[in-house]
């Protein structure tokens, strides 16, 4: 069974440009999560999508946005790139999150290394 796949593996952009990162969840998973892992700072929650809708958002500016497609794959868009956006962007997926009734495992992809120069 294929795991979570992310593309591209590496991405180099200049300040002010836009970056688009892609994620394909594990088959059968409907929830997709995006995390930013900056060097030495651990994983910071960005966004959560489930069934095509944004369900929760971390403390990031609006230039970080995304969407989830009908096939449950997802895109993360970062506009007006800044040097501080350089990080490993991780996508995770899980089965549908059922409130208060089920704890679901989240499985991560290998990440997209975004470098802003």
């Amino acid at each position: 069974e294929a795991g979570v796949t992310q593309s591209p593996t590496h991405l180099i952009k200049t300040r002010g440009q836009q970056a688009t990162l892609r994620c394909s969840p594990i088959s059968g998973h409907t929830s997709v999560y995006w995390y930013q892992q900056a060097l030495g700072l651990g994983l910071q929650f960005l966004l959560w999508y489930d069934e095509g809708e944004e369900r929760n958002r971390g403390n990031f500016p609006p230039r970080f946005s995304g969407r989830q497609f009908p096939n449950y794959s997802s895109e993360l868009n970062v506009n007006a790139l800044e040097l501080e956006d350089s990080a490993l962007y991780l996508c995770a997926s899980s089965t549908r999150y059922i409130l208060q009734h089920m704890n679901t495992e989240a499985f991560f992809g290998q990440g997209t290394r975004l470098t802003v120069v």
Binding site: G40, G42, L43, Q44, W48, N56, L99, F108, Q110
Partner: protein, 115 residues
């Protein structure tokens, strides 16, 4: 757990010894905890999880212990191998409110196994 600071705690063990990695979590309402292993240049890999209604759970060579009284989580790795060298993160999930759907990650511990 909190993702703070630039300096990761480190643990160095000899091959074959047992390792214990500790994590203090922050929210008493957290109902689910996960340990992840992250090797250099790779995404976090699920190791083992535990629900808040349990105190202990065992996997293959790994055991997770949960002490809700002091909000402490530990990961025990038996007979540590060089391939276990990585950064280990604990993550907690709060089941409701604005934190819904997100995992809170600890700062990570760098485990180094030497022969």
């Amino acid at each position: 757990g909190e993702s703070v600071g630039l300096h990761l705690p480190t643990l160095s063990v000899q091959e074959g010894d047992n390792s214990i990695i500790n994590c203090a979590y922050s929210n008493s309402a957290s109902d689910y905890f996960i340990w992840y292993k992250q090797e250099s240049g790779k995404g976090p890999q699920f190791i083992i999880d535990i629900r808040s209604n349990m105190d202990k759970r065992q996997g293959q060579r790994v055991t997770v212990l949960l002490n809700k009284t002091v909000k402490h989580l530990s990961l025990q790795i038996a007979a540590t191998q060089p391939g276990d060298s990585a950064v280990y993160f604990c993550a907690e999930k709060v089941p409701r409110g604005s934190t819904l759907g997100r995992l809170y990650f600890g700062r990570g511990t760098q485990l180094t196994v030497w022969p």
